[in-house]
Symmetry: C2
Subunit: 351 residues, 2 copies
């Protein structure tokens, strides 16, 4: 099993550790976040990234936030509120961030009256539960999707929706890990995923660590690979999915989906049910975060564009449901992707 990207070591006075993903693939460094500011910064600058891992990190961040509070219950509850409000500003488009913070807030409130120490213990237990539930979810997605990864097939993935993005096997990569563990042979093509190169730095790294046959390509090579018949399946993750199945994911995902449609290659999204935002009828309501020009102009350690070059750098794009063959969740695969189908699949057991 891959090394956890975020973990809690010890008890209430223990520490939160994470693999600093900004240093991969050349340096494998585990850092400790001793303050809420360090947790905020780690989420902000993508030392930890991937929706589920951000949720786990944020939950553990709330525990960090109450470690220093006195045992007085009011002080603990105030620390929870302050920490949650602060961490919510680290990555305003990450729905899992808010989901995890809400859970932590609810647990704190539910223990109101039990005393400060009991609230703290409940928060730690909840953070660990969020992590454990995510690990179970990864495994369930992997098991639901692994039959898609047939013997000898070629699978293209974009960005990193792997163990480095979650508590365990990942989402998009979970079916690959589970198929690999079952002894199946297949090829993976990893889009390098400009501008931040999560595919080159993270996906390629973690698949190589696991012994999966992976070939790194530039994003603009996906089309010619498909034309040559090298790709039988596309599997990507998701940051947010609307009620109709429209899926926001790392910039470039939409282009891959269009290319897959053109070449008749099935395009699947793999994501936990927590990624769905059923309050959104369609992807039109998903705000697209724009990021700084430097990610494009200074992406590789040196300046590769002129001074003051104008850039457009959306962090995400939205792939419409009609380009998606199926969505793999921990509850199975929804295909075709329709609002009714998703509602039926997600409604069962929800809440």
């Amino acid at each position: 099993m891959p090394e956890p990207t975020v973990r809690w070591v010890g008890g209430l006075q223990g520490r939160m550790e994470l693999i600093d993903q900004t240093l991969l693939p050349t340096e494998h460094t585990v850092i400790t976040c001793r303050t809420v500011e360090e947790v905020w910064e780690a989420i902000k600058v993508l030392r930890v990234r991937g929706a589920p891992a951000i949720g786990v990190a944020a939950a553990m961040g709330v525990v960090v936030g109450v470690q220093g509070a006195p045992d007085d219950e009011a002080a603990v509850l105030e620390a929870v509120t302050e920490t949650c409000e602060y961490l919510a500003t680290s990555r305003p488009t990450a729905v899992n961030l808010f989901w995890a913070l809400d859970r932590m807030r609810r647990v704190a409130n539910a223990h109101r009256g039990a005393g400060g120490p009991a609230v703290k213990e409940a928060l730690l237990a909840e953070a660990k539960a969020i992590r454990d539930e995510d690990a179970a979810m990864c495994r369930a997605i992997g098991d639901a999707g692994r039959h898609l990864v047939t013997e000898g097939c070629g699978v293209l993935t974009h960005c990193n929706a792997g163990s480095l993005a979650t508590a365990e096997y990942g989402t998009a990569l979970a079916p690959l890990y589970r198929a690999h563990e079952a002894g199946r042979s297949f090829r993976v093509y990893a889009d390098e995923t400009r501008p931040l190169l999560q595919g080159a730095r993270l996906t390629t790294w973690e698949l190589m660590q696991a012994g999966v046959d992976v070939t790194l390509i530039c994003d603009n090579m996906a089309g010619v690979l498909m034309r040559q018949g090298m790709v039988d399946l596309v599997l990507v993750g998701a940051d947010r999915i609307a009620a109709n199945g429209d899926t926001a994911n790392k910039i470039g995902t939409y282009s891959v989906a269009v290319l897959a449609k053109h070449h008749g290659v099935p395009f699947y999204v793999a994501a936990p049910s927590s990624t769905f935002d059923l309050a959104l009828d369609s992807g039109d309501g998903i705000p697209i975060e724009e990021r700084g020009a430097e990610e494009v102009t200074h992406g590789f350690g040196r300046q590769t564009a002129p001074d003051d070059a104008k850039t457009y750098c959306p962090a995400f794009d939205v792939t419409p449901a009609e380009l998606i063959e199926g969505i793999v969740t921990e509850r199975g695969i929804v295909s075709p992707v329709t609002a009714a189908g998703l509602s039926a699949a997600l409604g069962e057991g929800r809440g």
Copy 2:
């Protein structure tokens, strides 16, 4: 008009100057090649690149090669032979290099008996003719295509087929420069063009120098731009075009063409008629050069993929004619793109 990337200043004892493209986009330095060795090195290490610009540089390099020769005719002819043989080793895969050197050799031989000084003058005139013919070709492509660049439109381009690659306006960028000179307002989106980032380093730079409104994007952002209705036209260059219109161009061009088709955006290729290889029935016959892994794994300045990562790195791809709305040559626009249409357009006045 953009600053010439290669130029001859003065008469026979004048000098050859070029923009050192290896220093772009952060340093704008014009270097003088005073010896044939310096010309050789400039071509070798890509201080000058782009098929037409290499041809011009090589021709001017032959003039540099005879500048120091005595006026004795035999000595001049010997200097021509030696210089051509030497320069031919600088970039053995550049077809235009050999084409230009052949022209220079032929001119020298045609003036045999006229005396050393006359041969030298003929060589200078031929080098200038090669430059002028390319400049006229650029201008003709620009004039044939500029009506495509309508007021207020958005144009996407890939790689660099601009003034830095030719004697004057470029090929794909020529219609843009001509429309800009005519006072038209429009937006250009430049794909950065992984792995070597010609779009970021060169296209963005030269369009900014010329005052054209250009926005740099990562290759994987083209799809979402099109979906948002920001792109009304795609204009790209070509390395080689088969008789049926199938077009080999920088890797990533094919993906852009598929995206354009999906979004109903017209996709045009601009290239001189010398780019056509009518001996090839279709693009299936065009061999795809693969390049080293380092271009993907060690982009610019630092390692961005794990040690020993496997890569696939084709240098170019082939866009089938059915995805191409039209091909702009110095003789006009061929649209729709069919073997018969191309044959008719190219046949006239050919040879």
